[in-house]
């Protein structure tokens, strides 16, 4: 029933893209220019024009995506075409160069284009890989709900800790305040957990310590639990252990979720800015070609 953008309309644009490639390759093989192949032959011009138009049209996806009342196809159809024709562009543009590369603005445009195409391909892979993982990791909850649940857990834990000696409230409170996950893109992708917690040591001195994956506080609570001799106190500490364990699970899911989302979006931060660089380089390329002509 649902159909992915790769399958859209029986992969119509895959076939169109392939056809474009085949025609380009055949023309390239059949066309034996006097000078070594380059952009200056009639085939070179043709391929170059097609490539430039393709680039402009590929960029236009950003416009179509935001024209919400547009009836010019669906965004899904556009993305499907974008992917397949974008890949075909690699062939078209490469043939257009006639494999003549150098340290110049022409090759710069080509390299940027390859970057954009490469990042696009990477994006498609992400789009195929992450949604399912993201959905199962969330298990039906939204991020906001998970965060709310953590806040609720903390509140309950604080209420219980209020009936225990002071270090417990200190531990739970500081754990809440000093939970630090995410941050920079790198931290999100690596799922770094820089959380800290203030725990009372054997000597009774409270020290701030690293608490990745809630490990420190759980260990500490476990120790307190083992030591407790009073039944009521044991019950309370046990409850805290349960709450913090639930907190750990949620936190892990949130970190994982942020990571999933990052993988799904980060590549676009390369794809789009480099597109603009490409457009710049493309203009320079075209202008310089006509000037030197």
């Amino acid at each position: 029933m649902h159909q992915s953008f790769l399958q859209y309309r029986g992969k119509r644009y895959l076939w169109i893209g392939l056809a474009l490639c085949v025609v380009a390759v055949l023309a390239y093989g059949w066309h034996a220019p006097l000078s070594p192949p380059n952009g200056g032959t009639w085939l070179g011009y043709t391929l170059g024009t097609i490539g430039a138009l393709l680039i402009l049209w590929l960029t236009a996806l950003g416009v179509r995506k935001r024209s919400y009342s547009s009836t010019l196809g669906t965004v899904q159809g556009w993305v499907s075409a974008h992917v397949y024709l974008g890949l075909a562009l690699l062939i078209v543009a490469t043939l257009h160069t006639g494999f003549q590369f150098g340290w110049n603005v022409h090759t710069l445009a080509y390299v940027l284009m390859v970057f954009v195409i490469g990042s696009g391909l990477f994006g498609v892979v992400m789009y195929l890989r992450f949604p399912e993982a993201m959905s199962s990791n969330r298990s039906g909850q939204t991020r906001a709900q998970m965060l709310q649940e953590i806040a609720d857990l903390d509140q309950r834990a604080l209420r219980i800790a209020a009936n225990l000696p002071a270090p417990f409230a200190e531990a739970i409170g500081s754990n809440r305040d000093r939970t630090a996950v995410g941050g920079s893109a790198l931290a999100i992708l690596r799922a770094t957990d820089a959380s800290q917690v203030s725990l009372a040591g054997e000597d009774g001195v409270v020290r701030l310590q690293a608490n990745p994956a809630q490990r420190a506080i759980l260990d500490w609570l476990g120790r307190e639990l083992a030591r407790s001799t009073d039944a009521e106190r044991t019950r309370r500490v046990d409850e805290l252990v349960n709450l913090m364990a639930a907190r750990r699970t949620l936190l892990r899911r949130i970190v994982q979720d942020a990571r999933n989302v990052a993988w799904l979006q980060l590549w676009l931060y390369v794809h789009v800015p480099v597109t603009f660089a490409l457009l710049g380089a493309l203009v320079a390329h075209v202008v310089s070609v006509f000037l030197y002509w």
Binding site: M1, H2, Q3, S4, F5, Q7, Y8, G62, V63, K65, R66, Y68, S69, S70, T71, T74, V75, Q76, W78, V79, Y127, F130, P131, E132, M134, S135, G140, T142, R143, A144, D152, Q155, R156, R159, V261, L264, Q265, L268, Y269, V272, P273, F276
Partner: protein
């Protein structure tokens, strides 16, 4: 002020807009009167609106006729204006005067007040509205000032201990809101929270589990006493499972519903045409009830808007004084009738219509007038299509003049035209089933039609049993004709139709069970059913059948036991045909057997596939819980494709004034199919019920949408079980389509409100006191005004968002069952 023994000309019960206007007119004319109001202030219903609510003066076209002024404005301004009016005309209003009994007839009525006082009057005007009286705790101490039935602003209370009595949506919402800054207990008479919205159920269970709200299950109040020296000012004694409990508290919020006024009204002798709770009292054209001299106006009479109530108040006083009044709506009707080829007065035209259309002949003149007010008169050109097959419209047509032809197309492609003449009606099939039109109707020559909206016809059917019977009978005959005997003339089907029975089932009720004797075939007229079979220990849902189809055919073709269980997924009505009647149909239509057999075969194949795949069955069960059983269109998101870009939400907001009507992330998920919070476009939309201006309509393509005449009362928000309606301010001007490409380059055009969908409960108050545009209800309209279909689906880059009809979806699941 007249003494107690003086007989008054008019006693008016209830000082809402209707009563106020009636009393003000009496006062203006210097007639002896009294206006009795149970509460300590006038217009209790309006007093209870949210603070600052913008009250609307619908219907706009209706002129106001009252000594009191009424224009759209804030609740406060309107109440103050009426208060001035009361003083200006020296209306004899008595507050805190609840009428508990009325006896007698014109000109000798005795009204008994709660405090035991008695009043004599020649005539009585009943204007007590439909709000009813809040149910009371029924315990000693229930009158103490700490007991309240409403909660305007939960933030008003802090640090108190509050007991919320009740287990409905209102009680839950109040308890959870109060728990933010108070110690709250909720008192539930039974062992669970049944019959509440799923969102509220989760909310309260979570709050209880987390200890935010304390809950007493299976508990009842015993008594309430003031304890001035105790730790809290009051103390509530409860009877709980563990025995008696005492709760010291500051406040009790009793949300145990309201007693509908009908019982009281009936106790005064006023007759209702049927036991249906939606029935309205029997009234004459001049609002006189079955008790001579006793008049009923306003919401209680079936006119749910302020302006209507006020106009009637004026008219009823005039009528009582023997003055001829032309109803305020006369010009509206005159305008409506102006296109008719007759040169007659409004009254004459109405009479002519009633006389020509047998269905309406017996209907009381007031009710018919009201029906016509809501209806449209059409004079289509010959050959014009009135509606087309598969349209989703649900209005009802009667033929005043000329004729029409109904074109029915059989599955074989063969089409036939059935003529209908003056006095007959059509359109009842979609009206009653909420399904698409089953045929196309073409106008004949010089044809005059009345098109009546669904709500008005349902109201009529509820209050006039004779109309209901006629429509039901014809529905059955036509359903049989379309379903089983397209070739048979209508008249010949009458005997078969007469044998058929109309049955109603509640949600979840069993129509028949596996193993039972199979002796009848059921044609589903509205609602839908699930089919399930026992597989080992479990019952597995194997299919879903929508209205307009039949179930139970297997038995009638020779097999004797039911091989599956059929349950109603939503309130469902079926036409039940016994073996004999069906046999007769088989005789009349030799092709029928083959048709039924082929349907059966198809079902067999799909059933056995589904039986082997419990996952598909679970999927159907899951979706039935999400409203599949009554949906016409569901938004489903495939979580294996959704990248979470929220372009769907942005697209919705962008095409609908800045507020998204869908919340993608919210909502349940099963096996990678996610049902976001978005309208299901129900066949029998819950939201339509109780919409005072009848602002919620269904468009030809099935979209349930809200018109501009919404008055923002919030009834629909409360009534929708899927939490997809919310109240929102009219859109604010938005930034242009600038800086669209670079990420993070300022708020994009869609971002301002894209996340502005409200979390389901928009008990918002007008902030900062600034007058804002009125809040109105917003919901998905399936982009009916956009070309190209729903923007959410069109904007999804990966193909994850999809809108489907439930049938298509079930078919898809059962077809792919083997592959799974």
């Amino acid at each position: 002020m007249p003494g107690v023994s003086d007989k008054l000309k008019i006693a008016i019960v209830g000082a809402g807009p209707g009563g106020l206007s009636s009393a003000a007119r009496a006062a203006e004319l210097g007639v002896s009167h009294v206006l009795l109001e149970q509460s300590p202030a006038h217009a209790n219903t309006i007093q209870k609106y949210q603070k600052g609510k913008h009250v609307m003066a619908e219907p706009n076209v209706l002129p106001l006729r009252s000594p009191l002024d009424f224009q759209a404005g804030t609740r406060e301004a309107i109440l103050a204006e009426w208060e001035r009016g009361l003083a200006k005309h020296s209306v004899n209003i008595r507050y805190g005067a609840e009428v508990v009994a009325i006896s007698g007839q014109r000109p000798d009525f005795t009204l008994k007040l709660k405090n035991g006082e008695q009043l004599q009057a020649e005539t009585v005007v009943f204007a007590i509205g439909m709000q009813g009286n809040p149910r009371r705790l029924g315990i000693p101490g229930e009158d103490l000032p700490c007991v309240q039935n409403t909660l305007d602003d939960p933030a008003e209370f802090t640090g108190e201990t509050i007991v919320v009595v009740g287990a409905g949506d209102a009680a839950i919402e109040n308890a959870v809101a109060l728990a933010k800054q108070n110690t709250v207990y909720i008192l539930n008479r039974s062992a669970e929270f049944a019959r509440v919205k799923e969102g509220n159920l989760n909310l309260i269970l979570k709050s209880i589990e987390e200890g935010k709200v304390g809950c007493f299950y299976n508990a009842a109040c015993v008594s309430l006493t003031a304890t001035p020296d105790g730790e809290k000012p009051y103390s509530l004694v409860l009877n709980t499972e563990q025995g008696e409990a005492v709760v010291p508290c500051n406040r009790i919020v009793a949300r145990i519903g309201a007693i509908p006024p009908r019982k009281f009204v009936e106790s005064c002798g006023i007759k209702f045409p049927s036991p249906d709770p939606a029935a309205l009292p029997v009234l004459s054209e001049r609002y006189e009830s079955s008790v001579p001299g006793m008049y009923v106006i306003g919401a209680l009479a079936g006119y749910p808007l302020i302006k209507q109530a006020m106009n009637q108040g004026y008219e009823v006083t005039e009528t009582i004084l023997g003055r001829e009044v032309e109803p305020a709506d006369e010009p509206l009707l005159a305008e409506k009738f102006s296109r008719l080829p007759y040169r007659k007065s409004v009254g004459q035209t109405l009479a002519l219509m009633q006389q020509r259309i047998p269905l309406f002949t017996e209907v009381n003149a007031l009710v018919f007038r009201e029906l016509m007010l809501g209806s449209k008169v059409h004079t289509p050109a010959a050959g014009e299509a009135i509606f087309r097959k598969n349209d989703y419209t649900n209005s009802f047509y009667t033929i005043v003049d000329g004729s029409v032809e109904i074109e029915l197309v059989a599955e074989s492609g063969e089409s036939r035209r059935i003529p209908l003449g003056t006095g007959q009606f059509f359109g009842e099939m979609s009206l009653l089933s909420g399904r698409r039109r089953s045929g196309t109707v073409y106008a004949g020559k010089d044809c005059v039609l009345i098109e009546s909206p669904r709500r008005d016809i349902l109201k009529l059917m509820n209050s006039d049993d004779s109309v209901r019977k006629v429509v039901d009978r014809l529905f059955i005959a036509r359903a049989i004709q379309t379903g089983f005997a397209p070739g048979t003339p209508f008249a010949e089907l009458e005997p078969v139709a007469a044998r058929a029975e109309l049955k109603r089932y509640r949600k979840g009720e069993t129509l028949f069970a596996e193993g039972e004797e199979a002796d009848r075939l059921l044609l589903i007229r509205s609602g839908s059913v699930s089919i399930s079979r026992r597989v080992g220990e479990h019952e597995v849902v194997i299919s879903y059948v929508a209205a307009g189809n039949y179930v139970g055919e297997m038995g009638l073709l020779g097999k004797t036991r039911r091989n599956a269980t059929v349950r109603a997924t939503v309130p469902t009505e079926v036409v039940s045909l016994d073996a004999e009647a069906f046999g007769e149909l088989l005789q009349r239509n030799p092709g029928l057997r083959g048709e039924v057999e082929s349907t059966m075969q198809k079902r067999f194949a799909s059933n056995s596939r589904m039986q082997g795949s419990s996952e598909s069955g679970d999927m159907i069960s899951f979706l039935i819980k999400q409203g599949l059983g009554e949906a016409t269109d569901l938004l489903l998101i495939d979580e294996t494709l959704c990248v979470g870009c929220d372009n769907c939400e942005t697209a919705c907001a962008e095409t609908h004034g800045g507020t998204s009507r869908l919340d993608r992330a919210a909502g349940p998920t099963f096996a990678n199919v996610h049902v976001p919070t978005s309208c299901r476009h129900c066949e029998d939309p819950h939201c339509m019920r109780e919409c005072p201006p009848d602002a919620i309509r269904r468009a030809p393509n099935g979209e349930v949408y809200i018109q501009d005449n919404c008055i923002g009362c919030g009834n629909c928000e409360r009534n929708c079980p899927y939490g997809v309606i919310h109240m929102a301010y009219a859109p604010e001007p938005k930034p242009g389509l600038a800086s669209w490409l670079l990420f993070g380059a300022g708020p994009g055009p869609g971002d301002v409100h894209a996340k502005g969908h409200v979390d389901g409960h928009a008990h918002g108050h007008a902030h900062d006191g600034k007058p804002k545009a009125p809040k109105k209800a917003v919901k998905c309209d399936m982009c009916k005004d956009q070309s190209g279909g729903p923007a959410c689906v069109r904007a999804c880059p990966t193909g994850a968002a999809l809108r489907v009809s439930p049938e298509a979806f079930v078919e898809f699941i059962s077809e792919s069952a083997v592959e799974r």
